[in-house]
Symmetry: C2
Subunit: 582 residues, 2 copies
């Protein structure tokens, strides 16, 4: 690597001539492709932003000047140029850095970011603080066209536009969200591209921003002069650059959605896809429903692939499928409106991203008893990034009045719940889609009344084990080990519903049980187990709550989490024994 070898900081980059930048870009692009092939990662977003990131560091002076990357899944080149090259060139260090910006790694990273549409607001805060403190640095928010569909970005734009000082928004328009872009705004972006920035009606100018257009956002020769012109501006300014998502990898350029995130080479996609998953179970079930009933409609906030709705599904569903963009607030209110006018909406979303729509769940949906169905995917402890923890949805949703929150333990239970939820017309229903497919024919054909009652799967005494959803299997394992260790035949319960207490069943346990154990695949703080603890507060029943701690786990291996949170059968049995002796 002719140039890259000598670059360990933005200062080194600045020593290059303009003519040398394209070759550096080529070197970095090769580096990214090699690294992502080996480890997996956000392929498309990073490849599209190589030149623009080089140009940013070439013109501006980070860390004095401050860059805020939206979602920050396009920050690899930024990491390479700011002292973290080894994480991309040296296999021994591939695991050293997260896939997102992280202030713990570098002074060049301002925020830990992984959700969409936050950069403009964060940057506006940085800029206003600079103004209050008499600073002079440039503040640059880097945001993609997909992220623009989130309401927070809009709120940020509306305020950034009146800041009356230096505030630069680098708008990376690659004509794609995670999936395709949807929404009226995108017609204006297309018009701007067509007119090379000179369209009469300009979304950004309507806010009052100064506006620049760069036709080839993958050409440093076009980028650098514009950045130089805008540097130290005293006006809120948008630089609209047109880039190619996935640039440099033919298949990713063509299949932009598939190339958004690449799995490592050698990853057995066929085996992965072959295993039965709730993705295919869900989409097949929905298609059957849709064929029979034109009022059934699936809604995705731009994460269709991640929630089991591949392109094939979307084509078959036709107008019974809608992608609203990265716009979870709208998605929930939209679902409420659909349900109120006689449609049967099913919103498929990811636990962590549902956090963006707490108020709409409460006001637009639950308060209005709109019979929409929400399927929550990836609600579980995971070894992933702190920005994507899936452990907070139980606490967020189960404490909202009027939301019926269900956690099926088996495939049959899941399908029975889904079927009931779609057809009923009185309440909004949340179903926490399990991680692994466990089948049990006996749990098919359940009816509404079943969903409001906890199920006693095995009747024992002294100890009752309540395993919610994903952790129902763990309850069974604990039962076995407890019997082996102590001879106790514990009761095993499948609670099914985590938004309500089954008072009758809980009361009945008092007669011949001493300890109730709750197990949930989420944060215990504000969760299911605490409600059980409250119920038994005025009795002699002892209660042990197991689940995740109230913390952001950042790429913490599952083994470590299990040990720390006492989520293995051994540790749980030890705690039960201690509790019974105490």
């Amino acid at each position: 690597m002719n140039y890259l070898d000598n670059i360990n900081s933005p200062q080194d980059l600045k020593k290059l001539s303009m003519e040398q930048l394209p070759e550096l870009a080529a070197e970095i692009r090769r580096t990214l492709i090699d690294r992502i092939s080996a480890t997996g990662g956000h392929l498309g977003p990073n490849l599209g932003m190589v030149e623009a990131t080089i140009a940013l560091h070439y013109v501006f002076d980070s860390p004095k000047d401050k860059f805020v990357f939206d979602v920050s899944h396009q920050c690899y080149t930024h990491k390479i140029l700011t002292g973290r090259k080894d994480g991309f060139t040296d296999p021994a260090h591939f695991g050293d850095y997260s896939g997102y910006t992280n202030p713990d790694e570098s002074e060049h990273d301002l925020f830990m970011v992984g959700h969409t549409a936050t950069s403009v607001s964060l940057a506006t805060g940085l800029a206003k603080a600079r103004d209050l403190n008499g600073g002079k640095e440039n503040i640059v928010a880097i945001i993609g066209d997909g992220s623009m569909s989130g309401g927070e970005a809009f709120e940020g734009l509306n305020n950034a536009a009146v800041l009356n000082s230096n505030m630069i928004i680098l708008f990376n328009d690659n004509e794609m969200s995670i999936a395709e872009n949807f929404g009226g705004m995108y017609q204006n972006f297309a018009e701007l591209r067509r007119m090379k920035g000179k369209a009469e009606c300009n979304f950004f100018k309507s806010f009052g921003f100064d506006y620049y257009y760069v036709e080839d956002g993958n050409d440093t020769r076009q980028l650098v002069p514009v950045f130089q012109k805008v540097k130290d501006t005293t006006r809120p300014t948008v630089i609209h650059i047109h880039t190619l998502k996935g640039k440099g990898v033919e298949w990713a350029e063509k299949d932009k959605e598939g190339g958004h995130y690449a799995f490592p080479a050698g990853f057995d996609m066929a085996a992965f896809a072959g295993a039965e998953s709730y993705d295919s179970i869900t989409s097949e079930f929905l298609l059957k429903k849709m064929e029979k009933d034109p009022s059934v409609i699936a809604i995705s906030p731009a994460t269709a692939l991640q929630t089991g709705l591949p392109m094939d599904f979307r084509k078959k569903a036709g107008r019974q499928y809608i992608d609203v963009g990265i716009a979870e607030e709208h998605a929930v209110a939209f679902a409420s409106g659909l349900a109120k006018n006689g449609a049967k909406p099913v919103l498929l979303a990811i636990s962590s991203f549902m956090q963006r729509t707490y108020d709409q769940l409460m006001q637009d949906l639950a308060l209005n008893s709109s019979p929409a169905t929400i399927l929550v995917f990836l609600g579980n402890l995971s070894p992933g990034d702190a920005t994507h923890c899936g452990i907070f949805d139980i606490s967020m949703m189960s404490n909202i009045p009027g939301l019926v929150c269900l956690a099926p333990a088996t495939k049959e239970e899941y399908l029975a719940m889904l079927d009931w939820s779609i057809e009923q017309t009185s309440v909004p229903v949340v179903i926490r889609v399990p991680s692994a497919v466990v089948s049990c024919e006996n749990t098919a054909g359940l009816t509404e009344a079943d969903f409001y009652r906890y199920q006693t799967v095995e009747k024992g005494s002294r100890v009752a084990l309540m395993g919610l959803g994903n952790f129902f299997g763990l309850a069974g394992q604990v039962k076995e080990l407890l019997k082996e260790r102590t001879g106790i035949e514990a009761t095993v319960i499948n609670p099914r519903i985590y938004s309500a207490l089954d008072h009758e069943m809980l009361e009945s346990l008092k007669t011949d049980h001493r300890v109730v154990v709750t197990l949930e695949d989420g944060s215990v703080s504000g969760g299911f187990g605490e409600k059980i603890a409250r119920f038994y507060g005025n009795s002699d029943m002892r209660v042990l709550n197991f689940g995740g701690e109230k913390m952001f786990t950042d790429r913490m291996p599952m083994e470590e989490q299990y040990a720390r949170f006492h989520l293995t059968p051994e540790l749980i049995v030890e705690d039960i024994q201690r509790c019974m002796e105490g």
Copy 2:
């Protein structure tokens, strides 16, 4: 009332001629002024929308055609025209109807609404359901310019614009939010007004909407023809009408913020303002801070008056005050950015509206440990509308990792916490501003360590009473009554922090206490008390949690709530006695 007397439904309205509508409007306006003078209510928004609402019902056919009012604090004329006239003309029925749309009252109301920026998304859902089911009705969202600043409205616009069928947005531009409008978008609205809708750059057209402008939105002769033209359109359409907020009441036309909500005639504003309140305590404290330190900045999401920041404060604070519009998501991320770049942001917000920014609290703020201060007002049980319940913030915030949530019991504690929070540089802090000012000199001068520990105010035995924030006084009352009834000298605890457990103190109670009682002015579900119940789950300690139930209370008198939730000293003492005997 020549015309109004004969109108009991939209059908009756349609019998009038165009020429008769202005007189009807005058009658309705007089009715509104009389009624609001007597009862209080949203004066400005309703007066501005009289003519447009008449025109809507004159042209469209509700309930077949469907109107969705944003916030719905402008729906009084709609209620008058749809069979609820008595609630505005007959003092015996003044209390019959809520100040917002409510499907329980009428088939002409689609949703219970009280939060901002939801109408476009809800209406888009109604429209899409109509299309799926082959319906033909018109769908009309009625949204003000203030509401447009909310991200949910933007997400809705972006999706409504591509619906490709009938979807009408009546944009009521009265040049005001609750307070003045702030943001770049408003410059475009001003330009559109100046150019009578013909500006080159048009925010709405940039999304692809058909667009109509009505210069005098308080003139039915201008409104009706445009509505007739747009009726049954097959395109997403915006009708931009320019109205006068507060029209017909001279002072409200001039003081639009003051006239937004009017108190009843005879309301002793002087006495109200004279009582010491946390409003003035907060603003005076902040001004002193600001004078000494230019990096202290107060942020309001359009509710400055409601959180104790009157115009006088705003003028004095100058650039150290910012109104971001009704944009809570931006407000929190903006505060995080400010804090990260060396400013000292204080966000003042209302409990119910903070729900709009759950994800930003978690991702933009807590995950990044940004040292911003958030003051939560109106976090308490209240006799108000279901849409404005202030009981969910404890559960929402206290289960987010990294947020330090404090509930002061006294004025001195509040000021000590506020001072510490502004000056510290390591954590985001939420302070739940108490409802009533209780003073206690002994609680002044607390330091950081104090805020992480529960305070034992009176040491007793057998029963420990934990009164959080507003309910600290209730704990004292319970102590007195319990002593009187049973002779027990209970321990009284001021927990101060509701996001963390004081393990040492809780552990120490085990030695000589049998029952721990928690009292919180919020929903118990997911709240503070349940965490205490979890802590004692594996011990012999009994725990009783008192607070609101997980439900939307809709204008439920406080007496009824106290009785239902067992929040009187008598009922609590009875429960304690029962628990000790059991």
